[in-house]
């Protein structure tokens, strides 16, 4: 069965520190990959997505992710976090087409001053 693993449950960083959140997926074929963010009390929002092409994907708010097919990974990065990045981050995958998302368990990011 398809699955998505996120390695870190809770990450605490100081402002301006660099961020990398790990995500690995287990899928049999071609896969679409996503990172979503959920700010406290708000909807799930799409940060970025990978369908094909350049494996380095840039999203909103300075986030980027790199698809490494050989490692089945899609790690999220940001060079310098801000206090406002405090949120829960979810990696998700799906088969090609109009199919449901399979989410990881999420990583809670706390950014401190």
């Amino acid at each position: 069965a398809q699955s998505v693993s996120q390695h870190n449950h809770h990450v605490i960083l100081s402002e301006a520190a660099s961020l990398e959140l790990g995500c690995n997926y287990s899928y049999g074929g071609t896969v679409n990959l996503f990172w979503y963010v959920q700010y406290p009390g708000q909807h799930l929002q799409l940060l970025l997505k990978y369908f094909s092409g350049d494996p380095l994907v840039k999203g909103i708010k300075g986030f980027e992710a790199e698809f490494i097919k050989s490692k089945f990974s899609f790690n999220l990065r940001k060079p310098s976090v801000q206090w406002s990045d405090t949120a829960e981050y979810f990696c998700a995958a799906r088969d090609l087409g109009n199919t449901p998302l399979v989410f990881g368990k999420g990583t809670r990011l706390s950014v401190i001053a």
Binding site: V4, Q6, Y36, Q42, H43, L44, Q45, L46, K49, F51, F90, A92, G97, N98, T99, P100, L101, V102, F103, G104, K105, G106
Partner: protein
């Protein structure tokens, strides 16, 4: 900007009671999903609709959960009877049904069963 609407936002119910959640997708979106998010976990699919038809309900506990989308627009998810383990956030998402099939999520209904 169009959004997915859900109501109620919060619901507290006693176990063995019936509870229902409503979702209104973005206008024109043919595909509707219900996900459940247990505290500390990622969302998990309960049911997927394409227009008024169920595409995937393999993860829906059918002994107590039911979902309908009678006119292919808004949808209702029902639990009867509710159990303590049903306490979770219930998320609705919709997509247009055309590439790139991006899903837009509603604010969710937080259910607490006491």
């Amino acid at each position: 900007e169009a959004e997915v609407a859900q109501s109620p936002r919060y619901k507290i119910t006693e176990k063995s009671q019936a509870v229902a959640f409503w979702c209104d997708p973005i206008s024109g979106h043919a595909t509707l999903y219900w996900y459940r998010q247990i505290l500390g976990q990622g969302p998990e699919l309960l049911v997927q609709f394409q227009d008024e038809s169920v595409v995937d309900d393999s993860q829906l506990p059918k002994d107590r959960f039911s979902a309908e989308r009678l006119k292919g627009v808004d949808s209702t998810l029902k639990i009867q009877p509710a159990e303590l383990g049903d306490s979770a956030m219930y998320l609705c998402a919709s997509s247009s049904g055309s590439p790139p099939y991006e899903q837009y999520f509603g604010p969710g209904t937080r259910l607490t069963v006491t």
